[in-house]
Subunit: 306 residues, 3 copies
Amino acid sequence: MLKNRDIISILDFTKEEISYVLELSKRMERESSADMLKGKILANLFFEPSTRTRLSFETAMKRLGGDVIGFDDPDKTSTVKGESLKDSVKIIEGYCDIIVLRHFLEGASRLTADTVNVPVINAGDGASQHPTQTFLDLYTIKNTKGRLEGLSVGFLGDLKYGRTAHSLAYALAHFNSEMYFISPPSLRIPKDYIEQLQLRGVSYYEIDSLFEVSGKLDILYCTRIQKERFADPVEYEKVRGVYKLSRVVLDKLKIGNDLKILHPLPRVEEMDESLDTTEYAVYFQQAHSGVPVRKALLAAVLGVFQ
Amino acid sequence: MLKNRDIISILDFTKEEISYVLELSKRMERESSADMLKGKILANLFFEPSTRTRLSFETAMKRLGGDVIGFDDPDKTSTVKGESLKDSVKIIEGYCDIIVLRHFLEGASRLTADTVNVPVINAGDGASQHPTQTFLDLYTIKNTKGRLEGLSVGFLGDLKYGRTAHSLAYALAHFNSEMYFISPPSLRIPKDYIEQLQLRGVSYYEIDSLFEVSGKLDILYCTRIQKERFADPVEYEKVRGVYKLSRVVLDKLKIGNDLKILHPLPRVEEMDESLDTTEYAVYFQQAHSGVPVRKALLAAVLGVFQ
Amino acid sequence: MLKNRDIISILDFTKEEISYVLELSKRMERESSADMLKGKILANLFFEPSTRTRLSFETAMKRLGGDVIGFDDPDKTSTVKGESLKDSVKIIEGYCDIIVLRHFLEGASRLTADTVNVPVINAGDGASQHPTQTFLDLYTIKNTKGRLEGLSVGFLGDLKYGRTAHSLAYALAHFNSEMYFISPPSLRIPKDYIEQLQLRGVSYYEIDSLFEVSGKLDILYCTRIQKERFADPVEYEKVRGVYKLSRVVLDKLKIGNDLKILHPLPRVEEMDESLDTTEYAVYFQQAHSGVPVRKALLAAVLGVFQ
């Protein structure tokens, strides 16, 4: 279904395609697939470092029998000699069967996909899209709740800059989610996104405190509040306490046992280690889902499933 | 024919050996070779970054079923602790079957080849030799013109420092080329090289402007004019216009349809994107030739063809 | 015998286990093992660069048919965003079958082993342990002398900070070695280590000059004297001459023909190139032993030998 497709934005995917990717991901965990991509080469082009994403793409490709070339330091590429991104990727497409691109500029993945003949997977470009993260978020939700349909999902933290939250909200709009955007007023989700969700008929609420809704949530998707984004440190100090999740805080919240907490990681101080051993925590499981989800996407795009 | 040979300089190769490498390269594009080097390990030792060269060697090795280890940042090697190049390569030869070396010092490849027992391929040392680049330049010319014998070849740009132009000229001296060295007076090809070409009976011309010869050329080999090399910016400004190739300039030149333009890349401003879609442009094809040519050299040196 | 064991410190190994690892290492040189670890992935996590160790682990894994992911530059990991080592390794364990860790902090490997479910091999943490180096030192001694039992072993140079010397001394305590610690007074082996050796009943001598014992030694284990460790440059100048080994110095020492000289490398000026071609020098052979020894450990820990 996805043969030769570029994976640029979660917005390019229909509900059926999303469900198909999640099913393939499940198959990837169950079935042997050791030689599926034998002889294929993935070029991991990281113009911005992201060890986690890079390594999980590498593992996914190698678990399928393929191999990987690439770089994670643009300072050592011809970019420093003034070469354009277009030239770089036109050359490298001659060395590989598929390109995975991480770039600091928004739109770099689309430009690359328009330039080369091999499929391109966006591994994050600028503040905009990181679709494989969204797929693995969805996969984790489905695995832990048994379904995607009709869930109550809270998004917590930096909803202004957090691209993973934006993309996940868009994707969940296909699945009749009720959404709670929990953030300090200064970090509210941007109006553009809200308008898109309204167009899709999503029920949503913008609130300040987790306490107001904690009993209603099936999923809580946490994000890191980036201190450096606050112009006024006093503002930061006002809110950071509310969003420091710990076992003690959860006890006070009187949440149901079925709540599952996700976080794209890395976390810093917004989520305490004491949570890790509770039944709520699924963020490490979420991180590990990067491998089956990326295996599914690589295999599909490279035409293994006709 | 080349089993266990070190590939240090194009000057070490006879006309027969060059032709043999080009034939093998062709075979590498046609024939399956997926397990030719299974179990072999290449050490990619890049004491100076060169992403393009590094990645195409990696792809070549992996396409043949071999594997690769290495580094591309000398700051993280024992060199910073004061270790000599000789010690470094004597240790690493114990980890691999073949060494590919990029080094900032002229002669580093020859020294390495004299030190270790595994074959060594020079991937560029200092301003002197980069033989695999020359092989892929020759391969591209042969592929696009159908022959190497008796061509009229223009070399354009920085002929003083451009090692790729020097090496290609030497190699083409085997094949009765007529050579046109087109550069501003300040970037003329060094006397030493000219004397060598004279000794080999090459017909050559040193000129300032592409306009004088554009109708006569089969091949135009462009190089990047490195602005920083000009002591006087006024001198640079005088010449840069002449060497900025574009579709418009080519139209004015009234060149024949059979002209093919090569460039070792990266390009900066000496060659406009408008050229890319013309039938003259073969520089991306040239870059992609790095893979079959390096596959041929790796397989030959590692004894696949007895 | 070692299935799923973490390899953290040479002190964790019994005499029988050490002998077992050395026998396996020998087998790894003799027997074909090309697909032993097919489908397995090693994560090479180098939070501190060490090219030699990294590359020999990579070669070992690839020679066994496995594959490798990893990094060698902590500045490009989530560590710079404030992520803890525990979080980093908990995520990465989901991508691999075994972790090899190099870290600048003492105890990092033990912490990692306690955190993850995959086996962990310590590739050097802080100034403390580097057990695979000790295994390859022992392997080299056994290969060159035919036995480990009852040897006279001199340790020369920086015995205060040289962790490789400390670990080797501990390991040789199992094998009735007589030990000579040869160093300037300012670089004597720390009291703690001496006490441990006394507890194990080791005969040892602390001396200043190699001349006193040169005729008695089977093995001389040299280490690099790190100039920067001396507060007073005059002190450094006093001793550096004594420890500059060369062919001329060895002739004066009237050593026996059976002496073998080891050095963990890199060397700087403490050992002259003139030694390299003598029958005493086994330090390059020692460096190359990193591959069979690491193959043995990887295969054993990953359960190839039940």
